[in-house]
């Protein structure tokens, strides 16, 4: 990492594992449950959050000295919401197909507490460059968990990945379905996402004993 000083690099690598927004900071759970039933949606959401966190953190960081603390929540929310709405309108005008795919995520992005959480905890106290790195790092850490959960749920629940059948056809009984395997439709239900995240936490904390709560 020649470009980044050691301290700055930590801003990106920390949230990937030891300070992961979902499994450690407990932020952004709702969306992680709602959209991880397939891998493609998880990826799209990850990219969208990456963009909003990067830009939003910089904007808030630039404004940090002039935001009155009494109304900071409203200001933060309005910054995110207008950012998302403007991007949505521009996409609707010039990239209509893409906007149709993304429109589903608008509400989930605005209310994603990972964004507000990082505004509050980091961008309000740090400069724009470091805030940008923090935003990117946390968004990546968030995306990693989303993708892992998405892979499990789509593969075991629908037998596909990114919409492509990998395990065979459940109706024609080809692939693993020919030896009696069945899709577990339950994996598509949101409660299973909770249980998978719980298992991820188990694995993560078994490998790094420092994270264990008493």
């Amino acid at each position: 990492m020649g470009l980044l000083s050691k301290k700055d690099a930590k801003l990106i690598t920390d949230p990937l594992a030891d300070n992961n927004p979902i499994t450690i900071q407990v932020l952004g759970i709702c969306s992680a449950l709602a959209i991880t039933a397939d891998l493609k949606a998880s990826l799209v959401m990850g990219v969208a959050v990456l963009f909003v966190m990067g830009v939003g953190n910089v904007v808030i960081s630039l404004m940090r000295n002039i935001i009155p603390s009494k109304i900071r929540i409203i200001v933060q929310l309005i910054v995110v919401a207008s950012l998302v709405i403007i991007v949505d309108q521009v996409l609707k005008a010039y990239a209509f197909e893409l906007s149709k795919t993304l429109s589903v995520f608008i509400g989930l992005i605005i209310t994603n507490c990972i964004i507000m959480g990082r505004f509050e905890a980091f961008a309000l106290a740090n400069g724009p460059y470091r805030s940008f790195l923090d935003g990117i790092g946390n968004a990546l850490g968030y995306a990693v968990i989303l993708v892992i959960v998405g892979i499990f749920r789509e593969l075991l629940g629908a037998g596909t990945l990114m919409g492509y059948p990998v395990l065979g056809d459940p109706i024609e009984k080809t692939g693993v379905f020919s030896i009696g395997y069945e899709n577990n439709g339950f994996m598509l239900m949101p409660p299973m996402a909770l249980i998978i995240v719980g298992l991820i936490i188990w694995v993560q904390r078994s490998r790094n004993k420092d994270l264990i709560e008493d």
């Binding site: 994603n112 905890a121 949101p190």
Partner: protein, 241 residues
């Protein structure tokens, strides 16, 4: 009266914010270590929902819906400000949350300290925005029902966080594998509770406003079968012409 009761039971049990639609998870997971703090946050959520849902209902009825501006005069009747609903709802919510924060800080510093970062986060507690959006998409008809919906979905959330906080207090004395302690086991228990709540899904659907038209035609079929087929059919055609 009956519709109020029905809405209440639906919002608390069947469409429970936490277990059925999985909204408001972040604060639910993070502030459920102790029953006392959980009660505090739960009460705050009920309060905020009880205020924001009716407020947003008024906004929706008189500002945002297509044709809602007609009270300004007929020339405004064609405006559709629907694209503003997100930002209007969220602004209302953020204002109310900020208000609650100021009030709590003033009157109960201990509660303020224990809620910590999560009081501002009520603003992005998706249960709150979800309440307003569900209110909009389910076309709740009167202000009274909107108040009811806000309070009862808040109560649903309150019950959920109270339940998990009680379980977490008890589970401290159990022999949970070390890496699962705390957050991990909470995730898994919530998942199991969610599976339990799935069983509420089939309740009350018979009386659902949407289901009524379905039962009508079925009755008609039986009538036709039992009586003179041709005559009934002819009557039917006459009626609809």
């Amino acid at each position: 009266m009956i519709e109020h009761l029905e809405l209440f039971f639906k919002a608390v049990f069947i469409d429970n914010m936490v277990f059925a639609v999985f909204l408001g998870m972040c604060s639910y997971l993070a502030v459920s270590k102790k029953v006392a703090t959980a009660v505090g946050l739960g009460a705050a959520v009920i309060f905020v929902l009880a205020i924001t849902v009716p407020l947003n209902w008024l906004l929706d009825q008189y500002l945002l819906q297509p044709g809602a501006l007609s009270w300004l005069g007929s020339e405004y009747a064609d405006y559709d400000l629907g694209f503003l609903s997100f930002i209007m709802f969220i602004a209302t919510i953020a204002t109310m949350v900020q208000l609650v924060e100021i009030v709590v800080e003033k009157f109960s510093p201990s509660l303020y300290n224990s809620l910590g970062i999560f009081l501002p986060l009520i603003a992005v507690n998706c249960a709150i925005l979800g309440g307003s959006l569900f209110m909009q998409s389910r076309e709740i008809e009167t202000l009274g029902l909107a108040v009811n919906y806000g309070i009862s979905s808040g109560i649903g959330w309150f019950l959920a966080i109270l339940a998990i906080a009680a379980i977490r207090e008890k589970i401290r004395y159990s022999n949970v594998p070390a890496p699962l302690r705390g957050l991990g086991i909470t995730f898994i228990i919530t998942g199991l509770m969610g599976i339990g709540f799935l069983s509420f899904g089939g309740m009350l659907t018979g009386g659902d406003e949407e289901e009524k038209p379905a039962s009508e035609p079925t009755v008609k079929v039986e009538q036709i079968k039992s009586e003179d087929n041709a005559k009934k059919l002819a009557d039917n055609t006459k009626n609809v012409e």
